[in-house]
């Protein structure tokens, strides 16, 4: 009898001992690992998207904002086979699109965004089918919006979804994140983007979120920095309105003492909201196939021959190198100048002029001769100080340095000795090879207006973080050497351009303006230029206006600059009086 009890007790001890050993193994030896697994099980890391920093004009008007939008995400490991097909139907997105999105991250147990800017109706459809959509989440995410629509497109640029390259370069981006692709959005991406936060939520076995996890504090998203631009919205709106009648145009305004860009407009443009909504294929092809290239920022990326607007620069170069004085007179202008076996034209017969007169009347014949006396190399080096032929250094991507036809450049372009000094004559009147952007012309005239001292142009005024200014932009000072006596003469000539010269259309009774028109010779219709500053005696602002294929600058471009100057100085409209 005793043996049986002993035996059975032994069996009992062995079996229960086995269980106890297993408990030791799981709970004591591997306990920590299982505890981690258990946390991993029930904890889901939810990314809290940081709202992108807002962008304001210099007066604090919102030109780029963030607004809430509905986002659909999927948790790949929790999807069933029927999840994606059903979801695709409900949110009206091709199934293949969803699959290509989810496939590379199929191992993830955290949400992957698949569609932003979900319409309310689609959201309701998803919510109604919630129980059949395992692994699908909806959330409210901040998304960029541009109340300014297309008024600022070339200043602000636009956003785009990150691509593989971005993800490889910076691991803090996640799929479907937006990144600045052009303009301020690209240039100040790191300031604007902010830092995404995290929230840990407890989930049950079906993946339903129970609520925040008490022991793991959420890391709130840090909103991006707010950026104040130097742009004046009044001017921007006006430039937009005034160029609306033309196909392609650009306007640049700079505040001379500081280098602040107060207006920067290029036509045609696009609505950057298209890129943060889901851009339709049709809208995209319309934009990308438009022959006027709406993504092209003509104000800084397009270059044109400056035409007569270069003449004051040539004059200053001649005065500085003392090859001429303000009183220098040349051969009589009868409407053309013979050089070699070619006749170089003037637009009318001017007779004999002194230098200020030649500027005021824009006499080509005078400048042909001045250019020849000055020589190519002197003219090139003076232009390069301006800055022509090199970047003005604006804080926007895509600036074009333009062209100054230096000896090396010409040798490279045409071959050594295969170009004629005739290029110098064209150069001296701002035609031919020389190319400059509207921005460069504005900066050049800022330098002239400000006695050779100018500041690097910039659009960033200051950076705010949570309402506190953390950075104020101060532009570098640049200098170009100008003799002040000469300068006064040239500036006087530029005033006369407005008073009774080619740009009388820019004249304002209340304020004295100095400036110069230009006509960029072109294979098609000429481009109209005007660049001018005001007030003439104490220059504050400079505007460069270019209208493509619009003919003479005095007719088209100068009146636009006049309106802009009037608005900047808050001079009421004549008609209103």
């Amino acid at each position: 009898m005793d043996a049986r009890l002993k035996r059975l007790t032994q069996v009992l001890l062995v079996l229960f001992g086995l269980l106890a050993l297993r408990l030791v193994q799981f709970q004591l030896v591997q306990g920590r690992r299982y505890a981690e697994l258990s946390d991993h099980n029930r904890i889901r890391k939810i990314v809290l998207s940081a709202p992108r920093g807002r962008i304001f004009d210099r007066g604090g008007r919102t030109i780029a904002d963030t607004r809430p939008s509905f986002t659909v995400s999927v948790i790949p490991t929790e999807m069933t086979d029927s999840t994606l097909p059903l979801l695709a139907r409900l949110i009206d997105v091709p199934l293949e699109d969803l699959e290509t999105r989810v496939e590379p991250v199929a191992f993830l147990a955290s949400p992957v965004k698949v569609l932003r800017n979900l319409s309310q109706e689609a959201l309701f459809r998803v919510e109604e089918n919630r129980f059949r959509l395992s692994g699908v989440r909806t959330s409210v995410d901040p998304v960029r919006s541009y109340p300014s629509e297309d008024r600022y497109c070339h200043v602000l640029g636009h956003l785009g979804e990150v691509d593989k390259e971005d993800l490889g370069r910076d691991s803090s981006y996640r799929m479907l994140d937006y990144i600045g692709r052009a303009g301020v959005e690209a240039k100040y991406e790191q300031l604007l983007r902010g830092r995404d936060g995290y929230e840990y939520v407890e989930i049950d076995a079906r993946g339903h979120e129970i609520g925040p996890l008490p022991e793991k504090r959420p890391v709130p998203a840090a909103a991006g920095r707010d950026i104040y631009l130097t742009i004046d919205d009044r001017l921007q709106q006006l430039a937009y309105r005034l160029t609306r009648g033309y196909q392609r145009a650009a306007v640049v305004g700079i505040k001379i003492p500081t280098g602040e860009v107060i207006c920067l407009h290029s036509r045609p443009g696009f609505d950057p909201n298209l890129f943060t909504g889901t851009i339709s294929a049709q809208a995209w092809s319309e934009l990308s196939e438009n022959p006027s290239k709406p993504f092209y920022n003509r104000a800084i990326s397009a270059t044109y021959p400056p035409g007569s607007m270069l003449k004051p620069v040539v004059a200053l170069a001649a005065l500085k190198t003392r090859v001429a004085t303000t009183g220098t007179r040349f051969q009589y202008c009868n409407g053309q100048y013979r050089y070699g076996n070619r006749a170089f034209k003037c637009w009318t017969g001017h007779g004999i002029l002194d230098l200020p007169g030649a500027i005021a009347h824009s006499c080509n014949v005078y400048f042909y001769q001045l250019g020849l006396r000055l020589g190519l190399d002197s003219l090139v080096s003076y232009c390069q100080a301006m800055p022509l032929g090199q970047l003005a250094g604006i804080d926007l991507p895509g600036e074009n340095p333009g062209v100054i036809p230096s000896r090396e450049w010409l040798n490279q372009r045409y071959g050594k000795g295969r170009w004629h000094m005739g290029v110098l004559l064209n150069f001296a009147i701002g035609q031919g090879e020389i190319l400059a952007s509207p921005l460069q012309m504005a900066v050049t005239y800022a330098a002239i207006a400000n006695n050779g001292v100018f500041r690097r142009p910039h659009v960033l005024a200051r950076v705010d973080s949570a309402g506190r200014t953390v950075h104020r932009a101060v532009a570098d000072v640049e200098r170009v050497s100008i003799r002040s006596h000469d300068l006064a003469q040239v500036k006087r000539a530029l005033e006369r351009v407005i008073e009774y010269g080619t740009a009388r259309t820019a004249r304002l009774r209340e304020i004295r303006i100095a400036g110069k028109t230009g006509t960029a010779e072109n294979i098609g219709a000429d481009h109209a230029w005007f660049v001018g500053y005001a007030p003439a005696d104490r220059p504050e602002v400079v505007f460069a206006v270019l209208v493509e294929n619009a003919g003479h600058g005095g007719v088209v471009a100068a009146p636009i600059a006049r309106q802009l100057i009037r608005t900047w100085f808050s001079i009421p409209d004549e008609d209103a009086r």
């Binding site: 059975l8 229960f16 106890a20």
Partner: protein, 391 residues
């Protein structure tokens, strides 16, 4: 003068209390209340089993057995249940006849074996006891409820051993069943085969060993074949037992989540009602078959070991009572009861700890469920009955 075994009563109360805590933590108030409603029924069952005259018990055991077999037959046609026919539903009450089959088999086996002086491995000696088990077992397998049927095997083994069948003979008797079970995988089959070969060669001669091994191999070969005949969920359970990490969200999910729950409890547990695995629904059937995982998570190693200790102590206590009984019927009855509790506890906890396949066996006293609680209490009642007769 009646001698009542206080230990059995104390252990029963302790186990019931632990069970109530576990059911509350896993299933909330709803299941706790239901379990509390079952409790008086179970206590009534215990008292009935305690005070029914032994004579009546002995006399009616054959009728009880007959009735149960009849019910098992009926449940196949009239029963309800998810994917299987195990339950009788009478209004708000549902009960599983298979639970009470265990009781009927214990009673009838005790009555039959009590009269036998010696047992040996022969048809004459073992045909009747085996048949007593096999008849209801077949009906239960058809339900299908394999694990409940196997409990009957455990009862038979324990009671035959108690009545004097030699362990070797017992082993040989169960060779078809054991070979079949081991045959599902080479990993279980090879150790079993080697074990059998060694035992047979040491204890008997080469000829018998070869015969036995051939016999065993035949049954082992049947099992991969039968895997195809098994219901999908049964085959899946066996596969998940063999490789639980293979398909974490599919078949092995239950096994993994149960391990994570128990393991993450570590030494002291996460605290009562603080088990995340348990309360967030990561455990399947967390108030019934997986109730021990929730306990392991919330009360840790200390708590789990305490529960194991309670169960082991109770079983040991039943065996001690069995030894002290003068008459065979009472003694065998106690052993049968100990076998049911011991077997179910080992299988249930073993499956959660990954040493047994996941099967639907309830943890006696602890798992939520009226039938299971009632059976546990009636078993205790029977033991109290036979142990508390006038000394």
């Amino acid at each position: 003068m009646r001698r009542v075994d206080l230990w059995v009563i104390v252990l029963t109360i302790l186990l019931t209390a632990v069970g109530m805590l576990a059911v509350y933590s896993a299933g909330g108030t709803r299941y706790l209340v239901r379990q509390l409603v079952f409790l008086p029924v179970a206590v009534a069952g215990l008292l009935a089993a305690w005070f029914v005259p032994r004579r009546v018990m002995h006399g009616t055991s054959i009728w009880f057995y007959g009735a149960i077999v009849l019910l098992l037959g009926l449940v196949l046609f009239l029963g309800a249940g998810p994917g299987s026919r195990r339950w009788f539903v009478l209004g708000p009450v549902a009960f599983q006849p298979s639970e009470f089959t265990k009781l009927a088999v214990i009673l009838l086996l005790a009555r039959h074996l009590a009269g036998r002086r010696s047992l040996e491995l022969s048809f004459r000696s073992l045909a009747v006891p085996v048949l007593i088990c096999l008849a209801p077992a077949v009906l239960i397998v058809v339900e299908p409820d394999l694990s409940a049927a196997l409990t009957l095997g455990a009862i038979l083994a324990a009671m035959l051993y108690w009545q004097g069948l030699r362990p070797l003979h017992l082993l040989l008797l169960f060779i078809p069943l054991l070979s079949f079970a081991a045959g599902f995988s080479l990993w279980t089959w090879i150790p079993f085969f080697v074990f059998l070969a060694v035992i047979m060669l040491v204890r008997t001669n080469l000829f018998k060993a070869v015969i036995t091994l051939a016999f065993s191999s035949f049954f082992a070969l049947l099992s991969p074949l039968s895997l195809r005949l098994l219901r999908d969920y049964q085959a899946d359970r066996i596969r998940s037992f063999l490789a639980p990490w293979f398909d974490p969200h599919g078949v092995g999910w239950n096994a993994i989540q149960s391990r994570i729950a128990i393991g993450s409890g570590q030494l002291f547990g996460k605290g009562f009602l603080c088990g995340t695995q348990n309360r967030l629904g990561f455990l399947p059937n967390r108030h019934t078959d997986f109730v021990f995982s929730g306990l392991g998570e919330e009360f840790g190693f200390i708590g789990a070991l305490f529960l194991l200790g309670l169960l082991a102590f109770l079983i040991r206590r039943l065996l001690v009572i069995a030894r002290h009984e003068r008459d065979n019927f009472s003694s065998l009855l106690c052993v049968g009861c100990a076998a049911v509790i011991g077997y179910q506890a080992f299988i249930n906890i073993g499956m959660l700890l990954g040493i047994m396949p996941i099967t639907g066996v309830a943890l006696p006293f602890i798992s939520y469920g009226g039938s299971s609680l009632l059976l546990s209490y009636v078993l205790v009642g029977l033991v109290l009955n036979v142990s508390s007769r006038p000394a």
